[in-house]
Point group: C2
Chain length 415, copies 2
């Protein structure tokens, strides 16, 4: 007998029929002898509908009231699922964020979970009742309703699993696991049976959308085994777990890419201490996250340097005015922007013990004639910024070059 | 400076534009120097949509989960109104049932309010913020969401007004006050400027739909002055208040009618002690409310009696089987049903001190050739059951006959 948390996203509860399927799954798990907690998102489209409604009233809705409205999406789907479980002959009870209770900070629309009380869930389970918890929502210390930001239901699920010491957190979604890369871009992509938290975190940060980054952070912090799987079939998906020997042997677990960054090139600024700090300090003050940074000294008589960095395209419009203001102040002659870029990355625990992985990546890209505009590395990943038109070519070449393609891996599995 | 509670029904918040109007009204009251608490219903149609959604999942939805779903209607309209008040330059904050908190019993879908805490409302008002409270909803002692039943927002409004000691509770609705009778039936109906709680209670019980009965009971119990008025203009509506000299002079305040009752005639049962008790005891056990009751001894050798009573048409289908079962057991030869009936009633505090009002009512109906099938009376009302086809005729005749028609009353007002 295990204690399991099952999380179903908006697509999985997108219609009454699908809600019935979720009900059957939860009941099946219970009949299997497990204590079952289900976390649900709002029905697909509902959160957008609610946000639109608020925006019809006022252009920039107050965040507190926005959360009061947005939280109704999960409130409704949790109760509908409880009803569907009744209809299928099971016992269930919906629990909202303030009922559980999921205590968060007061940062409306992007709150962070502080603590989760387990008592209401445990007393529900003890009666043989499936606890259906509304995802995405919590309550702050004043009793105000908060929400966790887009994809927040993943975070709810893993945090609840951690709080109640669940044996596993199953994330049911519309894909059947985590893939070595996006199958739409690379047909030979294959499902990864097991991946470490660190790798998953890098993949999520680098553009893979299957799990919300914060949910992986929480899973890693509390050692919650996460099973990413399809809500439409019973196949095993991908287990995200702590690392062990077998995972460390994998040099490259996956290839990720992100087309949502833009490159900024600040030309010829004074090369003296504090100049770069002023530039990035100004960006940080405006809450703009910068990703890759390269500084290069310009050849010539005067001591001048160029700085290139990347940031999210979504932030670019907002950031342009003060980038240019600071650039002028620190003596730059020109700022250039390039939105036609893509960041391709390879991720793998094995990089820590295998030398020359980055060099091999650069070689593979060079062989394809792809120029590298910027590089960043961490212990378990290497990212290269390239022209966006090479995205698919680069992803396929790296996927093949690091032996991730289907046939080879199946052989490796058998070996 | 006064403390006012304003309640807006579903029609008054039925669109974004109407919500804006409500926002303007609340701000105007605040600018006038008042502390303002607004209670809102769900946008018109929303509660029905939510109930339908639940019924798509299961024919008879669990009441607890039904309330979790239904409560979202008011949650959304409260937050939207708070946003609209911001947009109009005011300060507002939505408060849900569990936040206020409005503590009820655990009778889901028809909960009764036990206590209301005022502290959250007062601390909101103290900061110059308009408190927008979600109507219709509360929370039971376990923290489960409850709703108060149809029209429950009236009850929320009056109960909140009582709890915080408001100077007035304004019920904004799509009619501009309480009328002497339904203007659709009787064009000479006029708006009543002031009416007592007792009269309002009788009128509401007898079919006038302008205020929910429980809200009037609470207003009477705690002496909350209620102002029923139009949400579409600034005209004075009807004040529902405690009685005083001037109100006692009104012999008949209004004429009500109710087409939603059915007559049941249990023919020829044994006329001995306990027989009638058995019949009505059985109905009470099944939670069927009986209204008018007449017992008549049949002429003839044997000691037998007929019993006629009325009950809500909505209950009739459900009640028929056990009415007939009991009727057989107590020796009745036949049960007859008649749904083509209407109960017309006159209501007025003055009846207590004026004799012959009932007789005058019977005379007016007789003059019109209308046969009376049953009669019931209380201290301040007389009701007659008639054939439904005479409804309009009877209402107009009584309205005229008791001097309620427009012209006369205007003269009376001037006198």
């Amino acid at each position: 007998m295990a204690l399991v948390v099952q999380k179903f996203g908006g697509t999985s509860v997108g219609s009454i029929d699908r809600i019935r399927n979720v009900a059957k799954r939860a009941i099946a798990a219970q009949k299997n002898g497990d204590d079952v907690v289900v976390i649900v998102s709002a029905m697909s489209g509902e959160t957008n509908r609610l946000i639109k409604l608020a925006h019809e009233v006022v252009k920039v809705p107050d965040a507190r009231e926005m959360d009061v409205i947005a939280a109704t999406g999960e409130q409704i789907s949790a109760a509908l699922l409880a009803l569907a479980i009744h209809e299928e002959g099971g016992k269930a009870r919906s629990l909202l964020g303030h009922q559980v209770k999921i205590l968060t900070d007061g940062a409306f629309t992007k709150a962070r979970i502080k603590t989760i009380e387990g008592s209401k869930i445990f007393s529900t389970l003890k009666k043989g009742i499936i606890a259906v918890v509304a995802g995405f929502q919590g309550v702050d210390e004043h009793g105000d309703i908060t929400t966790l930001g887009r994809g927040g239901s993943d975070t709810s699920a893993v945090a609840v699993a951690a709080a109640i010491g669940a044996d596993a957190c199953e994330i049911f979604t519309d894909v059947d696991g985590v893939y070595t890369t996006d199958p739409n871009v690379c047909p030979s992509a294959r499902k990864i049976p097991r991946i470490s938290y660190e790798e998953m975190l890098e993949l999520a940060s680098l553009g893979a959308k299957v799990l919300q980054i914060r949910s992986v952070e929480i899973a890693m912090k509390y050692g919650v085994p996460v099973h990413v799987r399809s809500s439409f079939n019973d196949a095993q998906g991908t287990w995200v777990t702590g690392e062990d020997k077998s995972l460390e042997d994998v040099v490259v677990a996956g290839v990720a890419f992100d087309r949502n960054e833009a490159r900024v090139h600040v030309v010829s600024l004074e090369d003296k201490p504090g100049v770069v700090a002023e530039l990035f300090g100004a960006l940080a003050d405006k809450n703009v996250s910068v990703d890759m940074i390269i500084q290069s000294v310009t050849k010539g008589a005067s001591e001048r340097a160029d700085v290139t960095f990347t940031l999210g395209k979504a932030d670019l419009v907002r950031a342009k005015p003060f980038i240019e203001e600071v650039a002028k102040r620190i003596g730059s002659t020109e700022v250039r922007y390039d939105e036609d870029v893509c960041k391709v990355s390879i991720v793998g625990l094995g990089m820590r013990s295998h030398a020359g992985i980055a060099a091999r990546m650069f070689r593979i890209l060079a062989t394809e004639g792809i120029n590298i505009q910027a590089i960043s590395t961490s212990e378990i990943k290497v990212s290269c910024l390239i022209h966006q038109k090479y995205t698919e070519l680069a992803v396929r070449a790296l996927h093949d070059g690091f032996g991730l393609s289907k046939e080879k891996t199946e052989k490796a599995d058998k070996a």
